[in-house]
């Protein structure tokens, strides 16, 4: 058995629910009060993979980056050495969606020369009456940057594991591709 380990940058504007999503997935806990992330928080999510005869596990090392501008000087360096990216927006707030491209550019700047991919996550889909960014827009954006798209409700725990499983699959596939390219 081998363990693959990936550094995942979780980024997006403040209050989109990045920390809630990560905590819900890693610790099965949901905090109803907003607790601003200062700098960054670090969590590990283990995803088991059934891959034919061998059993493998992917550890996602989640770097949950503070969305607030006041932390940008501190957090900029944390965006480096990324393997995968999770971009999160709030479906009720169009600004959080439109600013994802800026987040992506910032992450790419800190990871020049590396091929990066990941997932776009539309959070708070439980707020059905207040949806301002439809899934078609989210999916189109994700496609335009070569990412996968997921709609989740962290509050209800709906679909929350899916983007993490997808990241684990992407990373495992990359490992297999690397091994194959070496002629093994």
């Amino acid at each position: 058995m081998s363990i693959l380990r990936a550094r995942v940058i979780v980024a997006g504007e403040p209050t989109v629910g990045k920390t809630c999503l990560v905590n819900q997935v890693c610790k099965q806990s949901f905090n109803h009060n907003y607790m601003m992330t200062q700098g960054c928080e670090y969590n590990i999510k283990e995803i088991p993979l059934e891959t034919g005869k061998s059993y493998q596990r992917v550890e996602l090392h989640l770097i949950d980056i503070a969305g607030q501008n006041i932390f940008k000087e501190i957090t900029f360096e944390l965006l480096g050495k990324a393997n995968l990216i999770m971009l999160v927006y709030d479906v009720t707030n169009p600004d959080t969606f439109h600013l994802l491209r800026q987040w992506l550019e910032g992450i790419r700047q800190q990871n020049q020369g590396r091929a990066l991919t990941g997932v776009v996550v539309a959070n708070k889909i439980d707020l059905e009456n207040r949806v301002a960014v439809g899934p078609a827009d989210g999916a189109a954006f994700a496609k335009s940057i070569g990412f996968e798209f997921f709609e989740v409700s962290t509050l209800q725990g709906k679909n929350i594991d899916d983007p993490f499983k997808c990241l684990a699959d992407i990373f495992y596939r990359r490992y297999q591709e690397k091994v194959a390219s070496l002629g093994a």
């Binding site: 058995m1 081998s2 363990i3 693959l4 380990r5 990936a6 550094r7 550890e59 090392h61 050495k81 393997n83 020369g113 590396r114 091929a115 990373f171 990359r174 490992y175 690397k178 091994v179 390219s181 070496l182 002629g183 093994a184």
Partner: protein, 125 residues
């Protein structure tokens, strides 16, 4: 000479492959940097330079230990940024700043251009 320890392990790719001249045998990291491989030189041997064949690596550091107890490692060499050659092997070397007899050497992959680095061959000159 043998590998005493490595920070990544996939049963298909034995870390000792790095000491084998067969280019099709290799050791591969399984994610995150830094990664390292600790090599026992099988006694005290003078080393001036470390030559290597890798892929996906960005920066290599060599640490040396003059005793067998693995407690006093010191950085003795460092590569510049290796050329980014996606899908190709990188052949390079690190000249030691302190050429001397060593018992143990660490080959440290400080950073990579790719998610995973393969190490095909390490030679001590």
């Amino acid at each position: 000479m043998e590998v005493k320890c490595a920070t990544s392990f996939d049963e298909r790719f034995d870390p000792n492959n790095v000491l084998n001249k067969d280019p099709n045998k290799f050791w591969i990291t399984t994610g995150l940097y830094p990664q390292e491989i600790l090599i026992d030189l099988g006694g005290t041997k003078p080393v001036n330079e470390v030559k290597f064949i890798v892929s996906g690596a960005r920066k290599i550091v060599i640490e040396g230990c003059k005793t067998t107890n693995a407690s006093e490692f010191k950085k003795v060499g460092e590569s510049k940024d290796l050329a980014n050659k996606p899908g190709q092997r990188q052949t390079d070397s690190v000249k030691l700043s302190e050429p001397a007899p060593y018992c143990l050497l660490k080959f440290v992959i400080v950073d990579g251009w790719e998610d995973f680095t393969s190490v095909h061959f390490i030679e001590f000159v």
